[in-house]
Amino acid sequence: MALIERPRTGDLTPAVATPEATYGAFRRPVESTGWKSWLFTIDHKKIGIMYGVTAMFFFLVGGLEALLIRAQLAGPNGTILSADKYNQMFTMHATTMVFLFVMPMAAAFGNYFVPLQIGARDVAFPRINAFSFWCFLAGAIFINTSWLLGGAADGGWFMYAPNSSVPFSPTNGIDFWGLGLQITGIASLTGAINLIVTVINMRAPGMTFMKMPIFTWMIFVVQFLLVFAIPVITVALFLLMFQRSFDATFFSVEAGADPLLWQHLFWIFGHPEVYILVLPSFGIVSEVLPVFSKKPLFGYPLVVFSGAAIGFVGWGVWAHHMFASGLGPISVAVFSVATMAIAIPTGVKIVNWVMTMWGGKLRYTVAMLFAIGLIVQFTIGGLSGVTHAVAPSDTQQTDTYYIVAHFHYVLFGGAILGIFAGLYYWWPKMFGRMLSEKIGMWNFWLMIIGLNMAFGPMHIIGLQGQPRRMYVWTEARAGEGFFNLGFWNLISSIGAFVLGFGVLLFFYNAWRTHFGKHKAPPAPLDPWDARSLEWLTTSPPKEVNFDRTPVVSHLDEFFHRKYEDRGEGDRHDFVQVATAEELLAIEEANADADIHLPSPSFWPILLAFSLPIMAYGVIYNIIMIAVGAGIALLAMYGWALEPATAPASDYDPPEDGGTDLELATNG
């Protein structure tokens, strides 16, 4: 648990304490470089980077799946994929993008920047943080091994019952899917509890909630959504597991089951999930726009409250995914109106972003372009959302490509463009070098063109009546006019490849920045003239984050340290009085004398990888469950008995910490 700091004379920053063997044969890992420093790290920044790298890898995997889907649909009666493979492909494309890319990418930024933005040295529970990451990775690997073990899940990411039952999907794919999502669910849940406690408890002195950076705010809201949504899907997945592996009857219609139970449980989770995906990017954009507009975020309190409102109202609209499922007119009407209501706080956000730009001094860096791109693209997705909040209209649109267009504008145009804005904006902070702006421009424009080419035509395809999840479409239903399906399907497929190429440019850009002969020089300390606390340290940040704990007196603290208001009366006239380098020099000169960071630990990774062993056991052999449980138990006791840093006997008075027992054993 917590980071310990106690008065002690001596060395300046013992970033990694060097503990002895605390018990038995196990020597605690102490490496601060090399692969072991990553495997056993509990540093939120390293964990954040590992989250990011893994997520970007799965972005490529999910993207490849998407391209195969679009290749299949480029022409009528596609033969690139069989029906079976196609069904697996779209199931795993969604699962990968949602659970293995966007969610962990938000976790990456959240992990890396929330402690920095609130002036903390780490998260509240560093070891649980490491556990969350390894758990996510274990779950991700577990799900994807299904490709090699008889085929992946083929029921769609929504996995409606009873199609997900054994008679209709006899392979183990859905078992892998369900168990794997349980594991990544544990990762999300523990990660969310961790970040919430971090935000509540570890803000720097003076940082009240209304002085908290907006990105941190949005991450904070998202973690609440996770904490309360994950258990709902957990219930659903347990029912599914009992149904498939132990012959329970939850979804057996012949026993009298109601297939709509699954739909309710899934979408009670699934709708907040949408906001879980998109709110972090709203946070990123709300950071990026003010920086490159040289203005504070317009209506900061309202952006905060609308974020919270979206999070809250998001719980009352799940049944709009079920307008066609025969809920009855009363339920449909209620959920229809509730869904429209959610457009209001969303609209507030867009208005505030535009008003932030209005009257500003706009600099079109790549990060800024991605942010503006998000405003435009997400607006399209949001407005098409209003058209199917109208339930009768939705009965025509649901399960067609129109919906596919809608949520790709929301998720690609919203979530993913935001993520790229964040990558370009924070890259110099995370890695000390700047991504090439020139390649970045190509990256941005290709992605925007590809995005609109790939997903724009889907509006037409959908309104012309092409349903989703069909492994082939046929010439007979394509029509001949301007809106014929053939032409627009082809455009969409070409667009998908343009988009794919645009995304690859990012990877090239990242590689080129750090390797090869065009390697970028070290980045300036404050390349963007930024506004929030994470820039008040070196790039990349020191292991202790800040030389001394910052004391906050403003929203946009960093900006207010650099600029001084020389205006009189109502007139504000900001003048730069210090550079980032000067500010950092002050911090370094007044560095805290004594900072203890928690030491690395191998229990988190061990505990995390005991979970897939148990999951394989559920599918294949009950003995493996016992083996996995044994390892888990060992890891939990090891963890509980391990102090956060060096042995308690080193210090006097005995320190506070290491009481993660409860969470570890329940998580």
Partner: protein, 115 residues
């Protein structure tokens, strides 16, 4: 983790630092009384469950009220939530209220569905 600065307590911080109420120190005996009370309520509940037919429409609300009394007695006193910092209440009730609201709404849609 901790900080070294004197400014640790700004005005804003005080807001969230509501000092513990000092009425919270119940004696062991008080806890025993509460437990006896809960046992009695349970006994009443069980007794009521044998009188379904006599109570008619009263049965369900009576039983639910008794259940809630037990529930919140444990939460307020045994779990100390009534006297503890309001942050704990916020976190717990947020989950509780969401759970009750969302699941009741979901069950209601099934009602419409079958009707």
């Amino acid at each position: 983790m901790s900080t070294e600065t004197e400014n640790a307590t700004t005005d804003d911080e005080i807001d969230f630092r509501e000092a513990d109420d000092h009425v919270d120190h119940w004696t062991d005996l008080q806890f025993v009384y509460l437990a006896i009370g809960l046992a009695i309520v349970t006994a009443i509940e069980v007794a009521l469950s044998y009188m379904v037919d006599d109570l008619g429409a009263l049965f369900l609300p009576l039983l639910l009220i008794l259940m809630l009394i037990k529930f919140f007695s444990v939460v307020f006193y045994f779990m100390h939530l009534k006297f503890d910092n309001r942050w704990f209440s916020i976190l717990f009730y947020m989950g509780l209220v969401l759970a009750v609201g969302v699941y009741i709404a979901a069950l209601l849609t099934f009602q419409f569905f079958s009707a």
